[in-house]
Amino acid sequence: MSGWPLWEVFVRPRRGLAHGHVGSLHAPDAEMALRNARDVYTRRQEGVSIWVVSAAAITASSPDEKDAFFDPAADKVYRHPTFYDVPEGAKHL
């Protein structure tokens, strides 16, 4: 078991919703990971579809880079519709 890779598990709760991360598990291959994910994460009809992704295949942003990554979006309020004054009487905007 020590050598078994880690898999991240994503479940689509219902038709129409996106897959969301629910947890992780170890398994020797993708097929077993999928079967184990069924047993561990969907014992109570929590999902209609499961993805398993090898954790090694995920590239994540680092918390250290958080500011450099996300701060540039902070001062661009004009990206939100609420930034704009809508003249009185203008419809369908």
Partner: protein, 332 residues
């Protein structure tokens, strides 16, 4: 209690979202903790915080895994097919809870294999309660009602724990535990309202499980070594004694409905405190059991070691299959 329990879990979930929405000026460890936001796996955290969490989450995971044994003992002898199916589902849940928790611990940089080794060679502990034997079918009921009940009282506040993966695992666990507690209560209720012998069996189970269940909350506050720092870090939200009191206050009414007597002559309502006075469990016994000298300590660990060793061929076969399959894919 159960409605209240699920309401509390949902409140914890919604507070989590509210706190997460607040924008922090800076996100250092102390500021995140102060704002009731969550620390996530790759965030900077004090080494002692990381170690405390690993110890606590691993011990919790081990308890789920060892906790399968006392009840597993009754699967083949459950009194009906319905009870057997329910018990199987419950024991399978315990395995699932162990896995959620091992996965949460691994986000702190330990490997599951090392944690399993630490359990098997005794370096890490599990809850003292699972070192008591399940002598009769009524014990399965008592475990659901009292042991899972005490675990829930302990665990609901952990849904608000400052470490994100642990808090999220606890939300899942608590939602599932509520079925465990109800099924145990139902078993005892059926027995307590059955024949005289069945009633006596239910009472005997309560007599034996009451004090060990009270001891599950750990030593009294004055002697609790890790409590204060864990409270400051918001890993823990209430003291051992506060949670024990909450559990006793909950159980009194439930025992009355069962028609069973809590084995405590000192149990009485205290108007001033607005809570029940009760006799404390034998903490010296708790320490003895934690140190390895309970009725079933050796049996539990031996069984776990044997199951682990006897499962080796399954793990090896799965690995061999994966290797063969991977080679075949490359060749094609």
């Amino acid at each position: 209690m159960d409605d209240a329990l699920l309401t509390q879990v949902e409140a914890a979930e919604s507070d989590l979202r509210t706190a997460a929405a607040a924008r922090l000026a800076a996100s250092t460890f102390d500021e995140v903790i102060a704002a009731d936001q969550k620390i996530e796996p790759r965030d900077a955290m004090p080494e002692a915080y990381r170690k405390t969490l690993i110890r606590q989450i691993a011990q919790h995971a081990h308890s789920e895994i060892i906790g399968m044994q006392p009840e597993g003992n009754w699967i083949s002898r459950a009194p009906s097919l319905k009870r057997k199916a329910i018990l199987l589902a419950k024991v399978q849940d315990e395995a699932g809870h162990g896995l959620y928790l091992y996965a949460a611990a691994e986000t702190l940089g330990v490997s599951r294999a090392d944690l399993v080794d630490a359990l098997l060679d005794g370096r890490q502990k599990y809850s003292s309660i699972f070192n008591y034997p399940t002598l009769t079918w009524a014990d399965v009921g008592a475990i659901g009602w009292l042991v899972d009940g005490a675990a829930i009282v302990n665990q609901v506040p952990l849904c608000r724990c400052s470490y994100g993966p642990y808090a999220r695992a606890m939300i899942r666990v608590c939602k599932e535990e509520s079925f465990h507690q109800r099924q145990g209560y139902e078993i005892l209720h059926t027995l307590a309202h059955g024949t005289e012998a069945q009633h006596a069996m239910a009472q005997d189970a309560l007599d034996r499980w009451w004090y060990p269940s009270l001891a599950m909350f750990g030593p009294p506050d004055a002697d609790s070594t890790h409590s204060e720092r864990s409270m400051a870090w918001k890993i823990k939200r209430f003291s051992n004694d506060e949670l024990r009191q909450r559990f006793v206050d909950m159980c009194v009414g439930q025992a009355e409905i069962l028609g069973l007597r809590i084995p405590d002559d000192g149990l009485r309502w205290n108007e001033q405190r607005g809570a029940y006075d009760f006799t404390a469990p034998d903490y010296a016994e708790l320490m003895r059991v934690i140190k390895g000298d309970g009725p079933c300590n050796r049996q539990r660990i031996e069984h776990r070691r044997r199951a682990h060793a006897e499962g080796a061929w399954v793990r090896e076969a799965a690995e061999a299959y994966a290797r063969k399959h991977a080679t075949a894919t490359v060749a094609a």
